[in-house]
């Protein structure tokens, strides 16, 4: 089971947009996908049509009141969601003690045979929730905007992830994807700079700033449901394909090594 944490301390880069649409893209390819809304703002939940917090949700599971399986809701096209819950914001201020960062990881373990991919939408912060999101992830996806502040935020995030890796070990993959891209000189220069520093870690496609991506959350749908023929939908389809191909190639290499 691949667990992909969508993370960036900087707010407004489009973590939720990337998370929900990649989850839908993976689902459209026939994979069993679970989306987890770790952000107390509950934007991932709303983006998938859950505008009122359900009875059982992520806050319930994190506090031991239910399992993650019990909190799962089927949303668009068979995609499963664990909604944030109205009390998730209280957990953001939970005092961090050793071991508390592994709560979500332990909750996900029983689900390893039920899903192919788990997408976790992390909040733009540094507390209990983000620690759990990162610690539970096998791969990380960092959306970034192509401007100075976006690069500055990415720099801080990468340094933070290095600290995590000293404790948790290396993540299988750390992806970066340029989001909210516009046809401006600064965006082109930022993209060039990111290609220089990140190489293959930078996903080759950019997600352009498009009205349809801003509209579909209000209708509780991913772009796959709201505008399946849009350019944005095609970009996420191709991004998902790239992320799956890399995994397939890695699996083939591993099999060849074992043979």
């Amino acid at each position: 089971m691949r667990i992909i944490g969508c993370v960036n301390q900087k707010g407004g880069v489009g973590k939720t947009t990337v998370c929900v649409n990649l989850a839908a893209a993976f689902r459209a390819k026939g994979l069993r996908v679970l989306a987890i809304d770790l952000d107390p703002q509950a934007h991932l939940s709303q983006s998938l049509g859950i505008f009122d917090p359900p009875t059982l949700s992520l806050d319930s599971a994190l506090q031991g009141d239910c399992t993650l399986s019990e909190a799962c809701i089927e949303v668009e096209n068979g995609l499963q969601l664990v909604a944030a819950g109205q009390h998730l914001f209280r957990l953001e201020s939970v005092q961090m003690k050793k071991g508390r960062g592994l709560r979500l990881k332990s909750l996900l373990q029983p689900l390893s045979g039920e899903f192919d991919i788990v997408m976790i939408d992390c909040p733009p912060s540094n507390g209990f929730l983000v620690v759990n999101g990162i610690a539970a992830s096998t791969e990380l996806l960092v959306p970034v905007t192509a401007d100075y502040l976006g690069l500055s935020g990415l720099s801080a995030m990468l340094k933070q992830l290095q600290r995590y890796e000293r404790v948790l070990g290396r993540f299988e993959r750390k992806w970066v994807v340029i989001n909210r891209y516009q046809s401006r000189k600064i965006c082109r220069q930022a993209r060039t700079r990111l290609q220089h520093y990140l190489g293959e870690r930078l996903l080759p496609l950019v997600v352009q700033e498009r009205a349809v991506l801003a509209e579909c959350p209000g209708h509780g749908q991913s772009v796959f449901g709201y505008a399946p023929k849009s350019q944005s939908c095609d970009v996420f389809r191709r991004l998902a394909k790239t992320m799956l191909q890399v995994q397939e190639e890695a699996d083939e290499q591993e099999q060849a090594r074992c043979a």
Partner: protein, 170 residues
């Protein structure tokens, strides 16, 4: 030093490069030790930072936004008091002791040996603590009060209250 857009070359719209450290030989992000938020991910049983591989044992401690009633609390150690029982810290002290007292039964001994200063908020907390223990049918003994702190308590609470403390010391 301010720059005008007209002075900035077309190829330098980005300006300062916050990612240049990635080109450094060892690509280290900073001098900050690993004892940061990441270290609290470590296994509760290990005591120290976890090594390169993820821990085998995972805690099932369910965090509670409010007071917890889980079994782990039954063995919670009594929180120590900070050197100053004053306004800036009293809320955190109250929170820690509230969590401890939710699992504590019986008499209570409050160790004041490390406390060197107290203000009215700290004193009110002590009085409330004693009153709460008293309502549970138990006794609260405050001991280890010394030096200038004894005088502060006398000013705040008067002789009748201080008599309880002196009794505990005796």
């Amino acid at each position: 030093m301010s720059k005008n857009k007209r002075d900035v070359p077309e190829q330098d719209r980005l300006g300062h490069d916050p990612l240049e450290w990635l080109d450094a030989p060892d690509e280290q992000g900073g001098d900050e030790p690993a004892e940061t938020q990441a270290s609290v991910v470590a296994d509760a049983d290990s005591g120290d930072e976890v090594g390169p591989s993820p821990p085998d044992e995972l805690t099932n401690e369910a965090p509670q936004a409010e007071l917890s009633n889980d079994d782990a609390g039954a063995q919670m150690a009594q929180p120590s008091l900070p050197p100053t029982l004053t306004v800036p810290v009293i809320e955190a002290v109250h929170r820690d002791w509230q969590a401890y007292l939710s699992h504590h039964n019986g008499d209570l001994k409050v160790d004041m040996r490390e406390v060197t200063s107290i203000d009215s908020s700290g004193f009110q907390w002590l009085v409330a603590l004693q009153k709460w223990i008293d309502e549970q049918g138990s006794t609260c003994r405050v001991f280890g009060v010394q030096g200038a702190l004894r005088e502060q308590l006398r000013m705040l609470g008067g002789e009748p209250w201080l008599a309880c403390v002196e009794e505990a010391d005796g």
